[in-house]
C-alpha cells in the first residue's frame, strides 16, 4: 500500500478541489444569503414573496436534484442558445448549485440573526439620521454577525459534505478521485476510508476554527455567571 498504489497525488489534488469548491461556494453563498435576508425584510411585498419562494423551494428539494437540474438543464439551455453542443463545466455548475442551496439556508440564518439585533439599536441609528444603507453597514451587519455565526458554522459543515455530491456530475473532487482509485485498484474499502478520514479532518479543523471565531465574536459580551 506504499504511496496508495500511486494514487496519493490524485487524492491530494481531489482534496484541494473539494476545498476550493466549498470555499468559493461559501463566499458567494454568504453574499446570496445577505441579499436574501435583505429581500425578506424589504418594504415591497413582491420582493418578500419572491425571497420566500426561493427559500421554500430550494430547501424542499434534494441537493442532488438541484445539481442535476443545473448541470443537465444548463447544458440544454446553453446548447439552444449557442446552436451547438456546449457542455457545462462541472466546477461552475457545482459551485452555482451549492451557492444556491447555501444561499437559501443562509437567508434564514441571517434573517433570524437580524431579528436578534435589539430594535432599539436600529431605532437609535435612525434617530441619529443614518441612511438605510448606513444602518445596514454600521449597525445591523456588525451586530448580527455574532448571532449568525453558530448557524452559519453548521451550514459550512453541510456545504463541505455536499461537495461530494458534485462528483456525480463529474467534478474531479476528493470523492471522484477516490472512486476512480477504488475502481482501478479494486480496493474500495481503503480509498473510501481515506476519503472519509480526509472529510473528517476538514470538518474537525472547521469545528476548532468555528469555536475560535465564536469566542472572538463574543469578546465584547458580558455573560451572567
Amino acid at each position: 500500500m506504499t504511496e496508495l498504489q500511486g494514487f496519493g497525488d490524485q487524492i491530494a489534488l481531489g482534496a484541494f478541489t473539494t476545498l476550493r469548491t466549498a470555499l468559493t461556494s461559501l463566499a458567494l453563498g454568504i453574499g446570496v444569503g445577505l441579499c436574501g435576508a435583505a429581500a425578506k425584510r424589504s418594504r415591497v411585498r413582491i420582493i418578500r414573496w419572491l425571497a420566500g419562494c426561493y427559500t421554500t423551494i430550494v430547501r424542499g428539494v434534494p441537493e442532488l436534484l438541484i445539481i442535476l437540474i443545473l448541470y443537465f438543464g444548463g447544458t440544454v439551455a446553453l446548447t439552444t442558445v449557442f446552436g451547438r453542443y456546449v457542455e457545462v463545466d462541472a466546477f461552475a455548475a457545482g459551485v452555482f448549485a451549492l451557492t444556491i442551496v447555501f444561499g437559501a439556508y443562509a437567508t434564514e440564518v441571517f434573517r433570524a440573526a437580524i431579528q436578534a439585533v435589539p430594535s432599539g439599536q436600529i431605532e437609535a441609528a435612525q434617530a441619529l439620521g443614518l441612511s438605510r444603507f448606513c444602518v445596514w453597514c454600521f449597525v445591523i451587519l456588525p451586530q448580527m454577525w455574532r448571532y449568525a455565526l453558530p448557524g452559519l458554522g453548521n451550514l459550512w459543515l453541510t456545504l463541505l459534505k455536499d461537495t461530494a455530491l458534485i462528483s456525480v456530475v463529474g467534478l474531479e473532487d476528493l470523492m471522484r478521485k477516490s472512486s476512480i482509485a477504488a475502481g482501478s485498484t479494486h480496493d474500495p474499502l481503503t480509498f473510501y476510508s481515506i476519503a472519509a478520514s480526509l472529510y473528517l479532518l476538514f470538518t474537525s479543523v472547521s469545528l476548532v476554527g468555528l469555536t475560535w471565531l465564536e469566542r472572538r465574536a463574543d469578546r465584547g459580551v458580558r455573560f451572567a455567571k
Binding site: 442535476l68 443537465f72 438543464g73 440544454v76 459534505k161 472512486s179 474500495p188 472519509a196 472529510y199
Partner: protein
Amino acid sequence: MNLHLIVEVLPRLLEGMFLTAKLTAASVAFGLLIAVPLALLRTSPSSVLSYTIFLYTFVFRGTPLLVQLFLIYYGAGQLEWIRSSAAWSILRDPFWCALIAFSLNNGAYTTEILRGGIRAVPSGEIEAAKALGMSYALRIRRIVLPAGFRLALPAYANEVVLMLKASSLASTITLMELTGTARKIVAQTFSPYEVFISAALIYLGFTFLIVHVFGRLERHMAKHQQRAKLKNNSRSHRRAAAKISASQKVAS
C-alpha cells in the same frame, strides 16, 4: 416545456416516489430506534459511554453520506468474512445497503437532537419525579423521554425532511427511487427540464406534507400549554364565573 411528456412520465415518477417514501420511512424508523437508547446513554453520567457514542455521532456527522453509502455498498463486499457470512445476502442488495447507511446516518443526527431535548428537560421535573419515588426506568419513560421528545420535535422535523432529501443519494447505487427514475428518463428522452422539475415538485409536495404533519404533532403535544393560555381568556373566565354562580344557586 412539453406538458405531454410530463403527463406521460408521471406514472413512472410516482412509482419511484413510492420507493423514496419507503426508504425514507424505514430509515427514519430505524434511525429513531438507534437514537433513543444512544441519546439516553449519551446523557448518562458515565463519561466512557458518553464519549464512545460521541465518537459514533462525530464520524457519521463529519463525513458525507455518499462516502458512507459507498463504503457499505462497495467496501463491505471486499471483506472475506462478510462474504462468507449470512450477512452477505443482505449486503449484496443495494436497497439494504442504502437502508443501513441512511439509518446509521439518521441515527447519529437524531441522537444529538434528542440529547439536546433531554438536556433541556427542566431539572425540577426530574427532581419531582425522584421525590415521588419513581424508579429510573419509570422516570425515563414518563418524564424524560416525553418531555425531551417534545422539546426536540422542531429540530427532529427538520431532520426528517433532510432524510427525505438524502434518500435521493440511493440513485447513485442503482436504486430506482424518484431521483433514479428521473435520471433514467432523462437519459432516454434528454429533456431534463420537464422530468427533473416534475420530480422536484413531487419532493416539494412531500416536504410540505412532512412539515404539516409535524406541525400538527407539535400542536398536539403542546396541548397542556395551550390550555394554560385559555384560562386568561375573558370568554372562558365568564363561562367559569357563570358555572360558579350556577352551582351556588343549586347549593342555596
